[in-house]
């Protein structure tokens, strides 16, 4: 029971922790203020309590697939916020004089909504054991350990990224944001398939014998880049499409401040 809680909570915390680390690294590299994180966590906590308490009702929506649809919507929302982040971060790196006001807000929304979605699942899990005293102690202990490992992994990634030379650190962080975003879109797509809003044929490939989703590496890669051993065609297309969209954001932000003179030339 203890070990199980560690794993469940770790899996949920890990995704958010990795995203927070990468966004904080970008904030740091831009010499911007990291205060947005507190707003994000507050939003996430409030959102998690609300979503968790309403999950029973939400699940009944759309003929019993409300949970999938709302979760997929939240995932796409986080992706949209990450697109905005990528655009503004790229622009800020080009023009260090200008500090877009929208950037902290976009980061706060991305993290806040991600925390709300994952936090609600932890709350639902822990609340299931509230009544039984003998389990509750184990479950809360396990959850705390899982959360700590998740946070530590995030801190580790943060310092690993900051230890690199600034140019490489920035590049790696921006690539990671793109991969995290694409992973979320693939997850959302999987939920729409589960709800039968999207139809699929069988999986495109199966790498579960190479890297199992049960393994630690598989879990870590799932949280970081949305690793999936047997994806369907549409998941792969959405994943690649999301990466391309992120690339377009990056390129257009870079092209913008070359100035009108160069653009007309």
């Amino acid at each position: 029971m203890l070990l199980n809680s560690v794993i469940i909570v770790l899996r949920e915390v890990l995704e958010a922790a990795l995203m927070i680390s990468v966004l904080l690294v970008l904030t740091r590299l831009l010499h911007a203020n990291g205060r947005w994180l507190w707003r994000a966590l507050l939003l996430g906590l409030a959102g998690a309590v609300f979503y968790g308490s309403q999950l029973e009702k939400i699940s009944e929506f759309f003929d019993g697939v409300g949970q999938e649809i709302v979760n997929a919507g939240l995932q796409f929302f986080v992706f949209a916020a990450l697109l905005v982040c990528t655009f503004l971060v790229t622009r800020s790196f080009r023009q260090s004089t200008e500090r877009p006001r929208l950037l902290p807000a976009a980061m706060a929304w991305a993290v806040g909504v991600a925390v709300a979605r994952e936090g609600s699942e932890i709350l639902v899990y822990v609340s299931g054991f509230m009544q039984s005293d003998n389990f509750f102690a184990n479950v809360s202990m396990g959850s705390a350990i899982g959360a700590c490992i998740g946070f530590s992994t995030g801190v580790l990634l943060y310092y690993l990224l900051l230890m690199m030379p600034p140019g490489r650190s920035r590049f790696t962080a921006q690539v990671l944001i793109a991969l995290i975003g694409a992973g979320m879109c693939a997850q959302a797509t999987r939920l729409l398939i589960q709800a039968d809003w999207l139809s699929v044929e069988g999986p495109l490939w199966d790498t579960s014998s190479l890297l199992s989703e049960y393994s630690t590496a598989g879990q870590l890669l799932y949280a970081l880049i949305g690793y999936e051993a047997s994806p369907s065609m549409i998941e792969v297309m959405v994943y690649v499409g999301s990466l391309l969209l992120m690339g377009v954001m990056f390129l257009s932000a870079n092209a913008m401040d070359r100035g009108p003179a160069e653009a007309t030339a």
Binding site: N4, E68, S127, D196
Partner: protein, 120 residues
């Protein structure tokens, strides 16, 4: 021109009213129960290359999460509630699933069979 569009719309409507229920009727439904953190039945047999609708009733008072890496499925089912999960179309083989909140007891698998094998 408008008449043509009108006719097209009527045809579309007719096709939709006939075809949609057929698609729906073609999706077989399998009912599962969760009781005392156990799946009942814990082995489900379905034909290959067919989409199947799983209807899972959680008869426990505590929430459970239906999870399967092989099926790529994941869904929280609150206590005393039911959930709908679509799986497939799948190729023949075994696809384990488990209740993530009680993985020691809540385990089961979907066995996907080729039509020929099932007939034998």
């Amino acid at each position: 021109m408008p008449k043509l569009i009108e006719r097209k719309l009527i045809i579309l409507f007719l096709v939709a009213t006939v075809a949609l229920p057929m698609v729906h009727a073609a999706t077989p439904e399998i009912v599962l129960e969760i009781r005392n953190h156990l799946f009942e039945p814990d082995i489900i047999r379905i034909p290959a290359n067919t989409k199947v609708k799983l209807v899972i009733f959680n008869l426990d008072s505590t929430p459970e999460e239906f999870e399967s890496y092989e099926l790529n499925r994941e869904k929280v089912i609150m206590g005393g509630r039911k959930a709908v999960i679509f799986i497939g179309p799948l190729s023949a083989g075994e696809y384990p699933f488990f209740g993530e909140f009680n993985p020691q007891t809540a385990v089961g698998k979907v066995i996907v069979e080729d039509e020929n094998d099932a007939a034998e």
